[in-house]
Symmetry: C2
Subunit: 186 residues, 2 copies
Amino acid sequence: MKIQSDGRKVRGEKRREELIAAALRVIERDGAAGVTHRTVAAEAGVPTTSTTYHFSSLDDLLIATLISCARDMATEVYWMIDRARSRGSRGAEEVAGLLAEALGPSRGRTMAEYELYLLAARRPELRPAARRWLDILTSMVRHDDEVAFRAFLAGIDGLLIQGLIDDEPPSAEELRPIVDYLLKPH
Amino acid sequence: MKIQSDGRKVRGEKRREELIAAALRVIERDGAAGVTHRTVAAEAGVPTTSTTYHFSSLDDLLIATLISCARDMATEVYWMIDRARSRGSRGAEEVAGLLAEALGPSRGRTMAEYELYLLAARRPELRPAARRWLDILTSMVRHDDEVAFRAFLAGIDGLLIQGLIDDEPPSAEELRPIVDYLLKPH
DNA sequence: TAGTTTATGGGACGATCGTTCAGGTACTTT
DNA sequence: AAAGTACCTGAACGATCGTCCCATAAACTA
């Protein structure tokens, strides 16, 4: 038995992750419909057949990409809640700022995340990945008022998806009162 | 000048609408990615070239389909609000029932509507159509508490898109308390 | 009736797609 | 050093794609 890892496998795993990163960039730019073996390989700067070697099919590549995207979103949301809680009653400010960031500079990424939602709606095997950030949040927050919390989560999702079809991204100041309202105890 | 319309044109317009209806069925079944000249024509039971004649491009067909879908959604939502208001404090019950219907029997249609959202996020010319139902609701409701109303609309959107990735559609009874919370004045 | 306009549909072209395959390279094991 | 394994890649195949072309049928106009 060998203790240290195979140099070939770590190199292969690295390229596999590069392909996933390239696929995510393609999704952010052109949507999931723009993902082909050739576009992803070109984005990553590798030959076309590299994607067919590391992924058994194009579907596998798409699924791996969106699962990776969901994992990143979950950790990102984890730290957001952490910061928001540490700010006490100023939590709404933190949330509104992150929403504005998701609808402005990170717009492409946000669109990619909602493509995951729709893909998961049609493919049950993707649903656990798409739900992960919801589950993380649910596990982090106290359960004494689950209805209010679920209303808050739904409101966040709605503000994001509605903000995506605004002609210009809403600012944190515009979002602030709505987030405040959603967080305010009834 | 001729008063009565051209029989050829009305027949053509009829087929054009049949193609849009067929395209919507394709989107509900396979998503916007499944829309091709051939799949839509096959769904409508007409030759392939019929779609290229009535629509200058496949993009035109897709856009026309999603605009038509948005128009239907707007009128549907109009009557929903009308019924909900007539029921007074039982409005939440009406809304929860319609959400459950959208996530159950009309799941395909709901997914199609959110594909419109994402397409509109990438194509500015689609945004007015995607926003129409929001505009209609905004114009129907009194403006004395716009923040609460926008929070309510965002919550509805979030409940729908989160319901799409549930393993089984939520029931009206499950949704009822959250809708109630969103409608309850603070 | 002759001529114009509009809808229809069969066929085909070039482009792009997912995927396969065989040969080659780099690393590990025996 | 030889054998085995894993990664890499150029070339190509069949399928499907959007779109164009042209002939035909039907409806309207003069």
